[in-house]
Symmetry: C2
Subunit: 142 residues, 2 copies
């Protein structure tokens, strides 16, 4: 009788342990699907290519982008960097040397975070490029 | 004595059960990090904004992009759509109305898949826009 009770308790414990693990992995899944971008605001800083324009990707990736990302706090969901390699239309020049994009939850919060740091951001431009970026604000549709 | 053996066996089972759950959630994590984009080729089709230019996002999202994605097969890792809403630089016009991007493993395979379908793709343009896109091929750095 005693054994049966102990066994029942242990079985119950096993079920609970299994359940808690399931919940944990469920949370893990939720976390990874939290990087779904649909609905976020994307701010893309695009550096057009032209004769004589230069871009130091190593500085941009290791210094400039982490600095700007640091200003954005928890509003920033993720940021991406891409290096332009070619135009997809034959016999046309490379449109952009590089694009850095910030995926944020709220545009007003992004602007409020950038405003007091705009001079520091602009002062860093000559460290990696002599091109003037264009900036696209967009909504992630898919 | 018998009880001790049974208890030991059950404890061992519990440990094994816990371990297998851990492994499962580990696998889950691996799967979600498989969508990491670094190193992929990104082909961005960008529709510039100008006076009189139009763009039907609903058609683009539900018809055009799925059609093109269908041509790319397993080379396509994912595709994204964004809707341009503003320029990030005050007093400058919206740079792009929309951007559709294909993240592929291999550029040559992308080109080989698009080539025989180029006419069908172009013939679909008037169904959603009167703008001519520019196309940027880039490498995902981060």
């Amino acid at each position: 009788m005693k054994i049966k009770i102990i066994l029942s308790c242990l079985l119950l414990l096993m079920c609970l342990a299994g359940f808690s693990q399931e919940k944990k992995s469920g949370k893990g899944k939720k976390k990874s699907s939290a990087v779904i971008e649909k609905g976020l605001v994307k701010v893309s800083v695009m550096y057009p290519f032209a004769e004589g324009k230069t871009f130091n990707m190593e500085y941009y990736e290791t210094k400039h982008m982490p600095m700007v990302a640091g200003f954005l706090g928890s509003n920033l969901v993720k940021y991406t960097i891409e290096k332009g390699t070619a135009s997809g239309i034959p016999n046309t020049p490379l449109p952009f040397m590089a694009i850095g994009s910030f995926y944020v939850k709220d545009l007003a919060a992004y602007q409020a975070a950038i405003a007091p740091n705009r001079d520091a951001i602009r002062a860093d431009f000559p460290n990696y490029t002599n091109a003037s970026p264009i900036i696209l604000v967009s909504e992630v549709v898919k």
